[in-house]
Symmetry: C2
Subunit: 267 residues, 2 copies
């Protein structure tokens, strides 16, 4: 099943717009995991099992695995999500961006190696740079308006009456959506721009990071980003869920935070 | 030694502006490597030894390793370059782009895990997104004008009288260069824009892909991109060198192509 169908199904079954981001930081995980050879995977799997019925998607962030030489543990986690929670969408957060055969190799990484339903990409290299991802049959989620203050440096530049991020939203809605299943990233820290992007992109899914530790409001995201059916948004929370507690109750604490965020951002 | 000092030293010692890009594609390598458990590393090391005296830099492209589950072989290659050819600069081509702690993890990947002198990054997320790379002490090479036709989609958008890539060049020259050692990427397929960027960025190094298989001219790159001292450009060739021959003479053929390209693009 293709990304958008899988996502619609996940929203419908879970009645949740929440995505739990898997950003495993060994210094913040309960200490018992640090002595385990596959401690990162074990930690993430406990989080996954504690929250799977509350989410539409999981989103592992590959940088955290790359820094720990733990791509094998990321494979374990992705396999686990697909086999144990097959109705939850798997988004690889990698923000890849390259051209031609290099992009094709990143598509192999995301869709074959890790079996992701969709991967986040950077739009700076233009539409032909993402074609290899569509040709590989996976979903593509393009950065549009990022949650960091420095996002303004380029994304808010005036391009003939509209800021650059609006041009990116238009490119994704008008061109990428004809090539395959796609969506966009808009940070929760910019609720007005989220509303503006929703107007431009119709029913395309919007991945919204920045809730929780970064200060974005899940309620505002729901009001400004969701579609008429109450879905259309994938509201990501990573650190606030993963590190809700560093004690033995980390999984139940993660569930509590996830459930509260789910209630705020879901129909 | 920091990136720019290492690079100046490499240019001076090698008298070459050539960079050999390491994009190992098992389907194009001599067949004997495909049966070896570390065939990718073995192939690259033969290329490295055949060309090291002709280059200022090697540039492994991480996507080719990620698609093959071969990050360990990339570590082997990077260790080999640093120990056997310590005067050659090591650029990790990863085009990373993310924020905050995620960017910090990508910096660990590039500078600690792989020991790169510099890493390529995507500028779309703005200056604060690259600060973690500078804080980690490594060099940062930002995409400015990419060699693919689709680069026009965003990079040529008019932003108040100048195309976006000019704003990126200005951001890197004026802001990033105050944070640490940096450079830019401008594709060889756009010689006029290369000349324009050189005017903007002063003596900053420009990494120029797109020579060889992509059709850019090494001579034109030298004329349009080099500094008064004849250096300032890192002219990358990957496929044309790596796959000059698929026979037993692959390494000597690679050397021949590398030497010809070196002569065209160097002082």
């Amino acid at each position: 099943m293709a990304f958008l169908d899988r996502l619609d199904r996940a929203w419908s079954l879970s009645q949740s717009n929440l995505c739990v981001g898997l950003d495993p930081d060994p210094s913040k995980m309960p200490s018992r995991f640090s002595s385990q050879p596959n401690g990162i995977a074990n930690f993430c799997i406990e989080i996954i099992d504690a929250t799977a019925d509350l989410v539409c998607a999981f989103k592992p962030q590959i940088a955290y695995f790359a820094a720990q030489r733990a791509e094998d543990q990321l494979e374990t986690i992705c396999n686990y999500i697909r086999s144990s929670h097959p109705d939850v969408v798997l988004i690889l957060d990698a923000k890849r961006g390259d051209i031609g055969s290099t992009a094709a190799n990143y598509a192999v990484e995301a869709f074959e190696r890790f079996g992701a339903d969709a991967v986040t990409v950077n739009p700076y290299l233009g539409t032909d740079s993402v074609e290899p991802f569509f040709e590989a049959g996976g979903g593509v989620i393009g950065l549009c308006r990022t949650s960091n203050p420095g996002g303004d440096d380029l994304q808010m530049l005036d391009t003939g009456g509209e800021p650059l991020f609006v041009r990116v939203a238009e490119m994704i809605a008008q061109r990428w959506s004809k090539l395959g299943d796609c969506g966009l990233v808009v940070g929760a820290t910019y609720p007005n721009e989220l509303s503006q992007v929703r107007q431009i992109v119709g029913d395309l899914p919007i991945l919204v990071p920045g809730v929780g530790a970064q200060g974005g409001s899940a309620d505002e995201v729901k009001v400004n980003g969701s579609r008429a059916d109450g879905h259309g948004i994938i509201v990501n929370s990573s650190r606030a869920v993963l590190y809700a507690s560093s004690g033995d109750d980390f999984a139940s604490s993660a569930r509590l935070v996830a459930d509260n965020t789910r209630k705020s951002c879901s129909p």
